[in-house]
Amino acid sequence: MTGPIAQQTSGSQTVQRGRSGSSLADVVDLILEKGLVIDLYARVSLVGIEILTVDVRIVVASVDTYLRFAEAVNRLDIAHDGTSQGLPQFVGGMQESGAKKKTRGALEGASERLKETFGSSDSDDDEDDEKQTARRRSSRKKEDDE
């Protein structure tokens, strides 16, 4: 994700491989929920540090998900008719990106929260990561509108 990492390119075009294309969202649950916990392992007097990060997983509300699928299927059918070129397809495209925005995953929600709360000053960020932030923000906006 960051740092002096040799970029690994994928051997096939269908599988995205390596760390270069992944973001903090892909590992944030590991960092926060996995790894050795030393106060369980050893009887040590840990320094009491305040950890800001909570709510790693944001569960997608079921009804919201159902409506998203219903909307996606409706759009799918229109695109399939072949009778409606032009505008409906254009609208379909808009809806598609809208629906995809809303599907941005639970884990990304966590880094979104981190970013929004504390701002992203991380210069190591790759461009893809920045784009995801933008998408996530607009996704939130969309949900607020509803």
């Binding site: 390596g18 590991l30 800001l52």
Partner: protein
């Protein structure tokens, strides 16, 4: 010296840290050893603020990645471990646990974690469902006839349609997820399967892979990508520090 020390993980006492690796707040990363088998990978703990900013998580990961990339075996710690000072790292963490931590290092040496995430391509799986499940296709067709200004009247029908789709997707996921897992897991030494976070997720699994079998595993994943690329998006993330393969307690 009484500066609290943030602990990233534990490595072998004779390990050499990669140069120029920096930790939280870009502080230098050092080894603390007590003369036993193991050494702790630490940096000074930032004072006067809570931890958990994005940059903190990135720094934690960066340090562990740097060690791994340099071929240094490490037991990764969960984010947020700090001891009172270097003396506490030696006496409390290392002294009593060197042997156990050393055994974990032996188990992890020469291995990396690779995480496979597979997600349905939404349109492709929806088409499959529409084709394969007439009952759902029928309901979808009926709802499509409803004019936009009457959409509120069929709100619960739309919810029902989405629910049926979600259920159909879950049935497919059980089958597809298992198939993907079986195709790859034999190339790994161990795996940890995580519960999918979203309906479209097919599989989220981390593998512990010996270095000399990594290529073989990647090839198996590539083959899956070629077989399923139209309908399932597969990503292989890593190599990662073996977070998923340290003892629970």
């Amino acid at each position: 010296m009484t500066t609290p020390q943030y602990v990233y993980g534990v490595t072998r006492a004779d390990a050499t840290l990669p140069e120029d690796v920096t930790g939280l707040d870009d502080k230098p990363v050092e080894l603390v050893a007590d003369g036993g088998r193991c050494a702790a990978v630490v940096s000074e703990l930032p004072q006067g603020r809570a931890l958990g900013e994005r940059a903190d998580l990135v720094a934690h990961q960066r340090v562990l990645n740097a060690l791994m990339d340099a071929g240094v075996v490490v037991v990764p710690f969960r984010f947020g471990a700090a001891l009172a000072d270097r003396g506490a790292v030696e006496k409390e963490l290392l002294a009593d646990n060197s042997e156990r931590l050393g055994q974990v290092l032996d188990q992890l040496d020469g291995r990396v974690e690779l995480r496979l995430k597979a997600t349905y391509v939404q349109d492709a799986v929806l088409r499959e469902i529409m084709t394969g499940e007439p009952e759902i296709a029928e309901l979808a067709a009926r709802l499509r006839e409803v004019p936009a200004d009457a959409a509120d009247a069929v709100y619960y029908d739309r919810v029902r349609l989405g629910e049926l789709i979600a259920q159909a997707m879950e049935r497919r996921r059980e089958h597809d997820g298992q198939a993907l897992l079986e195709a790859v897991s034999s190339k790994s030494e161990a795996f940890v399967r995580k519960s999918p976070a979203r309906e479209e997720d097919v599989l989220d699994v981390s593998f512990l892979v010996p270095n000399d079998r990594r290529e073989e595993l990647e090839k198996a994943v590539d083959e899956l990508g070629e077989q399923h690329g139209e309908r399932i998006r597969i990503r292989l993330i890593g190599p990662l520090p073996p977070y998923d393969f340290v003892p629970e307690a």
